[in-house]
């Protein structure tokens, strides 16, 4: 009998994360690089480079990011035969394939010796076309696959299937989802594209405007943000070194970073208010008691307090919690789902997938 390996996957705009029940938990930058020429091909010794390595060597690579705003980089109107569509699908497939390889690295034996089942988290408001495309990509790499709403996967992993409001702050999107004991419908979910990438862009523009002599890239400001992100009033001053005509110069970027990080707060606060206010009034208090921050953006220092203050001012009360492992919360939840899913349900999906 073949060994079954369950995996949960969170394909994110910035990072793709995998959790497997064989103990592997890892992530990869959602970037695929192809050597630009024969020289760089010789240098790398491979024709595809993934993640951080691709980012570090981007000068000698053609870089592709398959996801944008938390979704596969395809639009509703895009022709499936177009080069753009094909490229997005190809790079996403390579990335997913690499993640699965990483999960199976610890296993002795060939790929054929295992049944690999996966649940993939998709953004709350991803289009049907997008979800279908993800299923198509995954079904060639996994023996059994299902797609599930990302914030729902987070809630499932935290066992918060009722009376909770999940705020998943990623790089491409912020997904808000209220859980009330049933599968979240469209009206239970709100998605904002003012997320991590948006913060990077705002931070970059602020620095460019304030320090026009300094040379910097979005990638540089992203790294600074990831190490120091804060909106706290009581934090330490943040100094960085930026090159000016080749010479490193020290700058105080405390206020700029706070301003950039704060730019995602209004959409989150409005989303929370909308989901609470449109809920059954008898149960609104339960929702306000359980606002859960997940995703990389939940690590912004002071964000929890700012949201609580906002809820206090506009909703009368609010209690916000941060998940323990923001990066893995989605993938862990998807893994729990995958493991809990009875065999007969997988069988149903397999039969339908064959017919389709």
């Amino acid at each position: 009998m073949k060994k079954v390996i369950n995996i949960g996957i969170d394909l994110g705009t910035s990072r793709s994360v995998i959790s497997a029940d064989n103990g592997v938990r890892t992530f990869l930058g959602s970037i695929v690089g192809y050597p630009k020429d024969a020289v760089s091909l010789k240098l790398f010794g491979r024709d595809i480079i993934f993640g951080e390595e691709a980012l570090r060597n981007r000068v000698s690579l053609n870089i592709f990011r398959p996801f944008e705003n938390g979704m596969l980089k395809i639009s509703q109107t895009m022709d499936e035969k177009s080069k753009e569509y094909q490229k997005a699908v190809e790079t996403a497939k390579l990335l997913l394939g690499r993640l699965i390889e990483l999960a199976l690295d610890e296993e002795a034996g060939n790929r054929d010796d295992f049944i690999v089942r996966g649940v993939i988290g998709a953004p709350a408001m991803a289009s049907r076309k997008n979800k279908k495309a993800l299923l198509e990509i995954a079904k060639d790499l996994l023996d059994d696959v299902m797609i599930v709403s990302e914030p729902f996967a987070v809630a499932y992993g935290l066992k918060l299937l009722t009376s909770a409001l999940i705020v998943d702050i990623g790089a491409g999107t912020v997904d808000l989802c209220r859980m009330h004991g049933t599968m979240p419908a469209d009206e239970d979910q709100v998605t904002s594209t003012k997320a991590g990438d948006y913060v990077d862009q705002v931070f970059y523009e602020l620095l460019k405007k304030k320090y026009p002599d300094a040379t910097l890239t979005v990638n540089m400001v992203r790294m600074i943000k990831e190490e120091n992100s804060t909106i706290s009033k009581h934090g330490e001053a943040i100094f960085i070194e930026l090159p000016v005509k080749g010479k490193p110069v020290k700058y105080d970027v405390t206020e700029d970073l706070k301003e950039a990080c704060s730019c995602i707060v209004p959409d989150i606060a409005n989303g929370i208010q909308h989901l609470v206010a449109s809920f059954d009034p008898e149960f609104q208090k339960d929702l306000k008691d359980n606002v859960i921050l997940a995703g990389g953006g939940s690590q912004i220092v002071g964000l929890k307090k700012v949201i609580e203050e906002y809820m206090q001012a506009n909703l009368g009360y609010g209690k916000v919690y941060k998940v323990e492992e923001p990066l893995y919360a989605g993938a862990n939840g998807a893994l729990f789902l995958c493991k809990d899913m009875p065999d007969e349900y997988w069988q149903q999906i397999k039969v339908r997938a064959k017919k389709a």
């Binding site: 279908k132 299923l135 049933t182 599968m183 809990d340 065999d343 149903q348 017919k355």
Partner: protein, 165 residues
């Protein structure tokens, strides 16, 4: 002790030994492994008890030696001849042993494979052996709520798969 009496006794003993060996061949042929292994160790082993029987006579009557040795030599020859026959039987028995062992191993393998297949089937259908012994349902028992959520996810995915738009 009377010399003639002793000589008669010893020669009679040699004849008896001769006859005994004749009969023992038939016994050995049918008796199998125990006697086979005993004789296979060589004539020396077979002679040892004979020497023990006859040695008190050597010490008292010198002439008894020739007769005794004659009987023993005859015994050795028979033993050696019988030994070859027995070796052949032994080889046949070894072969039978080997075949039996192979049959046993292949039968065991088949039984194990059947058991494994059966176990895999049982495990696949949700029952596994518990640490404490006996059987238990595979994995956690899911609550009705969770089953409902899982069903909804399956339904949503089936809709996606069937959507041809």
């Amino acid at each position: 002790m009377d010399k003639t009496f002793v000589l008669e006794k010893v020669s009679a003993g040699a004849a008896v030994l001769d006859r005994t060996l004749d009969y023992s061949y038939a016994s050995v042929e049918y008796a199998g492994l125990v006697l086979y292994s005993y004789i296979k160790r060589g004539g020396q082993t077979a002679l040892e008890p004979l020497v023990k029987i006859t040695s008190p006579a050597w010490s008292t009557v010198g002439s008894m030696y020739d007769l005794t040795a004659q009987g023993v030599r005859s015994g050795i020859k028979k033993l050696s001849f019988r030994g070859k026959e027995i070796t052949k039987i032994g080889q046949r028995l070894d072969l039978i042993d080997k075949i039996l062992a192979e049959l046993e191993v292949s039968a065991l393998k088949e039984t194990l494979a059947n058991l494994e297949q059966r176990l895999a089937y049982i495990e696949q259908h949700g029952i596994v052996a518990s640490k404490e012994g006996g059987l238990q349902l595979k994995g956690k028992k899911l609550s009705e709520d969770k089953i409902m959520f899982l069903r909804a996810i399956v339904k949503e995915n089936i809709n996606l798969l069937e959507d041809n738009k």
